[in-house]
């Protein structure tokens, strides 16, 4: 894969298909990849009554934000790696700054800012429209080549991306 591939709308659509549609929990949450570039991903979760944490307020549960950021971080790490390897979350710390606004779509942005031989470092933010007014922030580490089971869909996606770039 070239070191600085462009993610065209076509490629993003494909990533959405392979990195989200084949992940049952992501599909259940309504996760969508909105945008992506090398080492970075923007994911959204639409407001859904099934995801409410408190029926009195209608506020989405903090756990949904955890799941979205976890997934966003994973995608950002995949997009930062020069070759396909399996990854596993080592740890993830989430700080909740304010409740999500009922009815509004959640956006999660994650940036993998450093990759070493064994570990990828990533941080992220959850917000509605303004990234400088976060609902939550996170920081996490991922282990690279965590196991032998390379996600097949991811491998296929990266292969397609590579071919597109080269062709």
């Amino acid at each position: 894969m070239p070191s600085d591939f462009e993610l065209t709308p076509d490629n993003i659509q494909m990533m959405k298909d392979v990195l989200i549609q084949h992940v049952p929990h992501a599909r259940a949450l309504g996760l969508t990849i909105k945008d992506a570039k090398r080492g970075e991903a923007w994911l959204t979760v639409p407001y859904d009554k099934r995801l409410i944490g408190n029926v009195e307020t209608g506020v989405i549960h903090g756990g949904v934000i955890t799941a979205m950021l976890d997934n966003a971080c994973g995608v950002a790490v995949q997009l930062a790696l020069p070759e396909r390897v399996s990854i596993a979350t080592l740890d993830l710390r989430i700080d909740y700054m304010k409740p999500a606004t009922p009815g509004e779509t959640l956006t999660g942005h994650a940036h993998c800012y450093k990759v070493t031989r064994n570990i990828a470092f990533v941080r992220g933010t959850a917000y509605h429209t303004d990234p400088t007014d976060p609902i939550a922030t996170c920081v996490g580490t991922f282990m690279l080549a965590a196991n032998r089971a390379i996600p097949l869909e991811h491998a296929a996606a990266m292969e397609l991306l590579k071919n597109k770039q080269e062709g």
């Binding site: 929990h25 099934r50 409410i52 756990g63 799941a67 996600p151």
Partner: protein, 151 residues
């Protein structure tokens, strides 16, 4: 453990923790239930396909595991403090120790420190073998009185 018992006696638990769960649709979305034996609370995330994060292994979604431990901590807080309002999470740190197999996940939490406004809670999740946890978490929660308006 002795602290847990003392607290439970000092602050009688609400009659029905399930009402606490019912006020949290997301807990139902994750298929979470409570197994209460006296003053010991075990939460259960009953396996279903929509909890899968890696279909190849297959493994549970890390986010679902994190959310499950967060809810486990909240339920323990509700039980020990007797609060009826759902505690607000301030922050949670999750250590992923093993991949979660496509079976039920169990969780337990204990309150490390309970202050007037903030409680520190530790939670653990496991499957077949409790000595081989899938994940551990510690978090801070803001407690508020039942009659207190939403901040």
């Amino acid at each position: 453990m002795s602290e847990l018992k003392t607290n439970a006696i000092k602050n009688p638990p609400p009659a029905d923790l399930n009402r606490f769960l019912e006020a949290m649709p997301y807990a139902q979305f994750l298929n979470i239930s409570i197994d209460q034996k006296g003053n010991e609370i075990t939460t259960v995330m009953g396996f279903k396909d929509t909890l899968i994060g890696n279909p190849v292994l297959p493994a549970l979604h890390g986010g679902a595991i994190g959310a499950f431990m967060e809810i486990t901590a909240m339920i323990q807080l509700a039980f020990e403090t007797g609060i009826t309002a759902i505690p607000k999470p301030i922050g949670i740190t999750i250590d992923y120790l093993r991949s979660g197999k496509p079976v039920d996940l169990y969780g337990r939490a204990h309150i490390t420190k309970q202050g007037r406004r903030v409680a520190t809670v530790h939670a653990e999740a496991w499957q077949e073998d409790r000595s081989r946890p899938v994940a551990a978490a510690h978090g801070h929660f803001l407690l508020k009185a039942a009659d207190e308006a939403d901040a």
